[in-house]
Subunit: 332 residues, 2 copies
């Protein structure tokens, strides 16, 4: 491909926030990058926020959405050839700062991972963001270890479909929440599923604390007043990791809980991490988690595959909160 | 001294919360402990909370107050002799789980530090809690490094009188707050003193952020709504360390600030740390900070010395918030 040619297609956002599949400049490889011919791009909630203008891509990234893809390496810089074990034709999945909703994407070699045996290319596209996020939350921020109790909010979400089995594979006790039929996520293996349509989460945590199962780690994409209301019942030293605020951005906190129990409330987004930290997480994933993916203990859950030209319909699935697991776009 | 004899005196709390200097059992040395004949015991705000029944001493500690003392080693267990360089007659200061308001206290050898050259015994008593707390907050929780901006709340407090010079000695830019004459703390060397009687801290932080000096670390003994109101103006990755809530226990937080900027709100009390962590902090203090105490760069500020029999009058000074620096009791 020639630099700057208007050849490739990508999903662009119109002024009225609708989407179109349109021509854009081809990627230009910079140092240590490879060019991936995208087969599948997976959706993330951050895509919706970016579409609405609420979550701009980091500097140097394409303006179009897409945080993860699977595909084939079709071009390599000299740096990528020298520093990695990849070669042209390798199938990889990759974590992106943005730009995955396209026919091609350029990405540093250390943001790629080999496609695990036992995974389809559609499944592979659903791996990088969710698995790297899961690893960051559970192990880097959460310091998870066998025997810990984890509260994973929104058990039917794409992230939960990874974090719950990953936490179980590493020996944690897992509490999760749903606002739909708890049976839908039975296969994930959580120890306790709280249906917050009919149960109060703070009350459940109070009961669990009394039974010696106060939570060590919370991974919370909901926020809202529940956060403040749950803090009295968490364990000493609890890490409460805030990754989004789908249930509300405001919470009233009794700070006494914070300092008396050495609680830490940790804001954490993967996207804003340094490239070095992301590369470290991906490398740890391949080392520590890939064998568990290949054994089937932990796996990406693909809810639905749609053609890239139906990106808007795919987004609607996330807007409606209909999906259990990931929605994936087939590019080519 | 014979075990269990009612020989030694200590400060006890009467039912009406008044204090008396009365007989108590002598300390009984357990493994790795030394017996310190107390010369001075320094006051901490936690003593007031303990007196009011709000902050019970950890298991195994005497019921009487007192988190730090200076004095002379008068007895040593075999373990302490074998594992430490101390000998009978050494002058030390010590960090305690409790029990410092007394004629004698037993303490593990690794909770003692040599009295720095250049310090009186009264000053030495004012070192352990404040310096260990300062080290924990600044370096363990705060990951402070040269060039960082620190917000230290309550610049006239005992802790601030240590943290501000320590932060300056290690190359930080320091913002602090007062509700009294800013001139009173001029000698501490803060770069910016905010008089919150006439200035809004969130407004000041907004201005500082605009000038490229958003804070990296806050050490906050006030809490209250100011905490939530300041968060929009802190730097990406800010560590906001809550150590008390003198201005109010409740705060309303916009969680978007937390996760978008990877902020962490960290509850932190020294007293509840593991003995291993405390020993590590004390050992680091002697290694990294003692030379700066001996050079006079960082030093304990003793506001007033009263006899132990006037412990109640000494507490009143803290209740009134009158002191700049530490209040110390002379025991013998």
């Amino acid at each position: 491909m020639k630099k700057g040619d208007l050849q490739m297609k990508a999903i662009l956002v119109n002024e009225d926030k609708s989407l179109r599949w349109d021509n854009v400049p081809n990627p230009v490889l910079t140092e240590n990058e490879v060019l991936v011919k995208v087969e599948y791009a997976a959706l993330n909630r951050a895509d919706l926020m970016q579409r609405e203008g609420d979550y701009p891509p980091p500097a140097g990234c394409p303006e179009w959405m897409g945080l993860e893809v699977s595909g084939e390496i079709v071009e390599m810089t000299d740096g990528a050839k020298a520093k990695s074990n990849y070669k042209i034709g390798d199938k990889v999945c990759a974590l992106l700062g943005g730009g995955g909703y396209a026919e091609y994407v350029s990405v540093k070699y250390d943001m790629c991972m080999p496609v695990p045996k036992n995974c389809t290319m559609a499944e592979a596209a659903a791996i990088p963001e969710a698995f790297a996020t899961a690893y960051l939350k559970l192990f880097v921020e959460g310091h998870a270890k066998s025997g810990d109790t984890l509260l994973m909010q929104a058990g039917a979400s794409g992230l939960a479909s990874v974090i719950i089995p990953m936490a179980k594979a590493f020996g944690l006790h897992v509490v999760t929440t749903v606002i739909s039929n708890p049976e839908n996520i039975k296969h994930l293996g959580a120890d306790l599923v709280v249906d917050t349509r009919i149960q109060s989460l703070p009350e459940v945590l109070k009961t669990e604390e009394a039974a010696g199962r106060a939570i060590d780690i919370a991974i919370d994409c909901l926020g809202g007043q529940n956060l403040g209301d749950c803090l009295p019942y968490v364990k000493y030293g609890c890490r409460w990791i805030v990754i989004a605020t789908l249930a509300g951005t405001n919470t009233n906190i009794d700070l006494k809980n914070i300092y008396k129990k050495n609680i830490r409330i940790v804001g954490s987004t993967l996207r804003s991490r340094t490239p070095e930290m992301k590369a470290l997480i991906l490398s740890n994933l391949v080392k520590e988690v890939w064998s568990r993916v290949e054994s089937g203990e932990v796996k990406p859950t693909v809810y639905k595959i749609l053609p890239i030209t139906e990106a808007e319909a795919a987004h609607d699935i996330l807007y409606r909160g209909e999906n259990v697991g990931k929605v994936v776009l087939k590019v080519q």
